[in-house]
């Protein structure tokens, strides 16, 4: 019951967009015949889009790329950030730590969307390129969090004792430190996923890493904007789904994090 109260709101908001993103492509079936662009009704429940495709069909297809790209980018960011952060925290060589972490501090100064636009101006990316790009701009912050969490664990007497016993670096890093920081990282990964969802959707809206007629909620919002006056559904439905997706996932992450901090008893003076 308490679980339901905690996760209920987030789950309720995120259920529809997540469900559509996962199951939509299986429900979509064959694409209906094209009609004139921006029509309302006439056999199409939500009308047609800017090139006359069925909006319902596009909505069913359009969630998957957003969610998949975001998941892949978050995963990839951690694949890079984990070894870098762990090495930075566990090494006793100051120059190595500086070498690993300082460039990230410098990269943090560049706004993430600006970085993505800059790269996109030079190499127009595809979906895989977008994953790489989003992962790349997420690495500095993730690596800093990993390092901070690992440095705290690494300074504990237990780690010093293991080191003196002559345990290998690998067992120290993965077996002890890695396990101890897993919870912090899980929380951070949740936060990062919502940030990445934001970046992926915004990039697609600006036309980075997507085809101009891609079946993608963010692209639908962008391309169907010209017909907003005559056919609002082609814009409003995907926009609402994106809002529900980002809002719901953020509520879920926050609910999950409440677990980690012990509840405070009563009001403080």
């Amino acid at each position: 019951m308490r679980r339901l109260r905690r996760y209920g709101p987030g789950a309720a908001v995120a259920a529809l967009p997540l469900g559509l993103a996962l199951a939509g492509p299986y429900l979509a079936g064959e694409a209906p015949a094209r009609a004139a662009s921006f029509t309302l009704g006439e056999g199409y429940r939500l009308g047609t889009d800017f090139v006359g495709r069925d909006v319902v069909h596009q909505v069913l297809l359009g969630g998957r790329p957003v969610v998949l790209v975001a998941l892949a980018a978050t995963l990839l960011a951690y694949l890079v950030a984990l070894p870098v952060g762990l090495a930075g925290a566990l090494t006793h060589r100051r120059w190595l730590e500086e070498l690993l972490m300082r460039p990230l501090d410098v990269l943090l100064a560049v706004p993430s969307l600006l970085m993505m636009l800059l790269v996109a101006a030079v190499f127009p990316p595809g979906a895989a390129g977008l994953v790489l790009l989003v992962a790349f701009v997420s690495v500095p912050d993730a690596a800093r969090i990993v390092r901070a969490a690992a440095a705290e664990v690494a300074s504990r007497p237990a780690v010093e004792a293991l080191r003196m016993q002559g345990e290998s670096w690998w067992r120290l890093a993965v077996g002890h430190v890695g396990r101890s920081i897993a919870r912090t990282l899980a929380a951070d990964a949740g936060i990062r996923l919502t940030g990445v969802l934001y970046l992926v959707a915004t990039a697609a809206f600006l036309g980075i890493g997507v085809a101009p007629d891609a079946s993608d909620w963010a692209v639908m919002v962008d391309r169907n904007r010209t017909g907003l006056l005559i056919q609002p559904w082609a814009v409003v439905v995907p926009a609402l789904l994106i809002i529900a997706l980002t809002m719901g996932s953020n509520l879920l992450v926050d609910a999950a994090m409440e677990n980690r901090t012990p509840p405070r008893k009563g009001r403080r003076p």
């Binding site: 926009a239 609402l240 980002t246 953020n250 003076p269």
Partner: protein, 317 residues
Amino acid sequence: MNGLRSWIARRLVLGALQTAAVVLLVFALTEALPGDAAVAFAGDQPDPERIAAVREAMGLDRPAHERLAEWVRGLLHGDFGTSLTSGRPVSGFLADGFGPTLLLAGLTVLLLVPLGVGLGVLAARHEGRFTDRLISSATLGVYAVPEFALGVLLVSVFALRLGWLPPTAVGYGDGLLAHPAALVLPVLVLLARPVCSLARLVRAGMIEALAAPYTAQARRYGLSGTRVRYGHALPNALAPATQQLARTIDWLLCGVIVVEALYVIPGLGTVLMNAVADRDIPVVQGLAVVFGLATVVLNLGADLVTHRLAPRSEVAA
């Protein structure tokens, strides 16, 4: 005092390094173009004569380090090079787009601080009660929503459905200030995310500060609630929030690009998007340097303010 001075010196060095890194990164990226900038610019219809002309204009036949040195020398004198598409100096593009963007960003920051701090303090004063729960869940929900989705929704409700506000700023050009109605939706959309994050941080900091021993002591001295709250608790609560304010600059820059595209405002973001679409490399470079510099300088400022507000706390660098 000595510690403070060395801290400021270190922070300034980091800022200078970040600036240098931004400039180098921008140059290196365009240097990594397959072929070179001239070929990329020629695009689908590679006309050998035109490619040669662009190469000549950009001096692409010379070694990279010479061009880098010249470009940096130009930047120091405010010379950003010339556009490939129009032949106009890049600084002209910057000057055109500067006004609307500054107006948008300025208005947003001006409203952001009182709104964010106000909401945060309000929630903290009612911790655990209805007002707090309302503010906390609303800010948590809106926090992660992309600007374009929110903006499009607001346009369809307030501009198209209700007809209260103009849907875009088309036709107002430079006279944006004379048409405040056209600015309401863009500023509202730009505010949404930063206000949420600021309010959440101020709330958390304020709750902690109000529970700290020094506020209890101040109360025991018989200071009024208002004075304890705003004179003693708030400055301490603001320190982590100022750091976040610097982070919001990143968001604000992203947001400005999206909002300008959405509401057709002819600012720097629109110039940047057009240049990216045309692959007009010198304009992209110039804008990237300006945006990057703005971030570095504003981050530096925020760190200095944080240090002033709460000198005990460790700040980056």
